[in-house]
Symmetry: C2
C-alpha cells in the first residue's frame, strides 16, 4: 500500500474546479475562516487561481486588485474569470465571484511575460531580529485562519491592551503553517496577512474589514521558486484613518533581500 | 446679450453622454493627449464620471482601480458602468471602456456614505517651498496634457540630462490650468499627474506607461470643496524596478495639511 501524504490546507482551500469556459467552482474550507466569512487573502488567492487555471492564461501575475463586496458564506461559489485583452506580452482579466445569485467579490488581474531590464530596489527592508529569536504567535489566537500561518512579530504585535501606539507599523516574519513552498497563490494570500491597522494603532478590538486589496508582484517565477518555504519579512503601515476608511501599504520581503510584493488596501473601520 | 464663459478644457474632456442603462459615450479631447493615446489620469476621470453620472449611484468615491489594457485612439468610446453590489452604505462597480469593438480599459470603483470616526493622519506631508517661490513648468514641455496643469517642482524634476539620481522621489505643486475648483473627477486625474519614475530616477527618456492605477480617496465631499482651486502638494516614489515593471506610491496633500489621496500604480518600462 502506498503511503498517503495529506494535502496542505492551503491547497485544499484554494482549489478551483473548471466548469467549462470562464467558470470555476470554489469552496474555501473552514480552516481559513475569519470573523465574518473566509480570510480575504484566501479569497484573493482563489480568484487568482481561477485566472491562472484558465486555458487562455498567458504569463504570470504582476498586478491584482480584489474587491470584497459582501460576506462569503461557507457554501461553495462560482468564479467567472474573463480575459478581456491580450497582447504579445500582457493580459488583462476581469473576475467575479458569485454566491447565491449575487456578486460577493470582484477582481481585475494583470499578467505579463517579463524580460530583464535595468533593475533597482529603492525601498529598504525593515529592521527585524532573526525569526528564531522571536516568539511565534500561539495557535488559537484571534480567528481560525491565523492557525495556518506561523507569525513571529518583530514590531507592532496586536496586544489589545488599549494603549494607543504612536504609529500603526507592524513588522513580522510569516510563512505557511505547516511549511509550504511559496507560489503566486500563497504570495497573493500572504499579501493580506496583516491584522487590521486600526486595531494595531489603538490596541482595541473594533469592527473593520478590507474593502479593496491591490497587490503588485515584483517576484517573478524564479524569485518565487528561490524563496521556497523560507519565512517572508512583512511590514505594513497606514497613512490616514478618516471617516470609516483608511489605507494600508505593505511590503513582503524574501531571501537575499528581495522585495517580492508591494501591496495596498482600503479598509473599513468603526470606533 | 449674455457674456459666454468658455468651458474649462477638463470639463470638455471628462464629459460622458448617457446612452441608456449602464452605457455612456465619451471622447477625450486632444488637449489631454499623451505620447500614445490620452493622459491616463483623464481616462481614470472619465471612467469615474460614468459611475458618478449613473442613475443608481450611491455615495462618493473612496476606492478606484483603473487598468489600461490598450492604447485609446482619438475616436469616441463607450463606457459600461455596472453597479454589482450595493449595501446600505457601500456600492461596488465594474467598469469597461470599449473602442472599435474591443476593451481598452477596465476599472473597479468603490463608493460609500461615510460617517465620522476616530481620525488620524499618520503620514507626514513632504517638505516643499511655497509654490510662489518655485518656477512653473513651461508650456509645451514633453507632451500635450501637461499644458492643462500648472506644475511647480520642489524636488525631482524631469531634466533628462542622463545623470542618474539616488532615488525616484518627486515633489511638486499641481493644479488645473486654467485654475478650476477641485472635484472628485479632477482629483482622480491628478492622481496620475506624475512623470514616470523610471525617467525621473535615470533622467533618460525611455519607453513606459501605466498599466494599473489605484486611488484611495481620503478626501470626502467637504474636503474637496474646502480645497477649491488651491494647488495640491503631490509626492511620488517607486519601491522596486524589476523586469519591465515597477510600482509607484504617491500622495496628494491639500490645504490645512489634509491628505486628500493616496495612490499607487504599476508601470511598464523598458531600458
Amino acid at each position: 500500500m502506498s503511503v498517503e501524504r495529506s494535502e496542505h490546507p492551503f491547497d485544499a482551500a484554494v482549489r478551483v474546479v473548471a466548469l467549462g469556459g470562464d467558470r470555476f467552482a470554489g469552496h474555501i474550507t473552514p480552516a481559513y475562516a475569519n470573523m465574518v466569512g473566509p480570510f480575504g487573502g484566501m479569497i484573493a488567492a482563489v480568484l487568482l487561481n481561477a485566472v491562472l487555471s484558465h486555458a487562455s492564461r498567458q504569463g504570470d501575475p504582476v498586478g491584482l486588485t480584489v474587491n470584497f463586496a459582501a460576506p462569503i458564506t461557507d457554501d461553495g461559489f462560482v468564479v467567472t474569470a474573463r480575459p478581456v485583452r491580450t497582447s504579445r506580452s500582457t493580459q488583462h482579466w476581469m473576475v467575479e465571484l458569485e454566491q447565491a445569485g449575487k456578486i460577493a467579490a470582484t477582481a481585475t488581474a494583470f499578467l505579463a511575460l517579463r524580460r530583464p531590464t535595468w533593475e533597482c530596489t529603492e525601498a529598504l527592508a525593515p529592521a527585524a531580529a532573526a525569526p528564531a529569536t522571536l516568539a511565534a504567535l500561539p495557535k488559537g489566537a484571534f480567528t481560525p485562519w491565523i492557525n495556518n500561518y506561523e507569525m513571529r512579530f518583530a514590531h507592532g504585535a496586536l496586544k489589545l491592551d488599549g494603549v494607543e501606539q504612536d504609529d500603526s507599523v507592524s513588522t513580522l516574519w510569516v510563512r505557511d503553517e505547516p511549511s509550504r513552498p511559496l507560489d503566486f497563490l500563497s504570495l497573493a494570500a500572504m499579501s493580506d496577512c496583516f491584522f487590521p491597522r486600526h486595531m494595531t494603532r489603538r490596541q482595541r478590538h473594533t469592527p473593520g474589514g478590507t474593502v479593496s486589496l491591490t497587490t503588485y508582484f515584483h517576484a517573478d517565477a524564479a524569485a518565487v521558486t528561490r524563496q521556497g518555504a523560507e519565512p517572508l519579512l512583512a511590514t505594513a503601515h497606514a497613512s490616514r484613518f478618516h471617516a470609516t476608511y483608511y489605507d494600508q501599504t505593505a511590503q513582503l520581503w524574501g531571501v537575499d533581500n528581495t522585495l517580492l510584493v508591494v501591496t495596498h488596501q482600503l479598509v473599513y473601520y468603526r470606533d
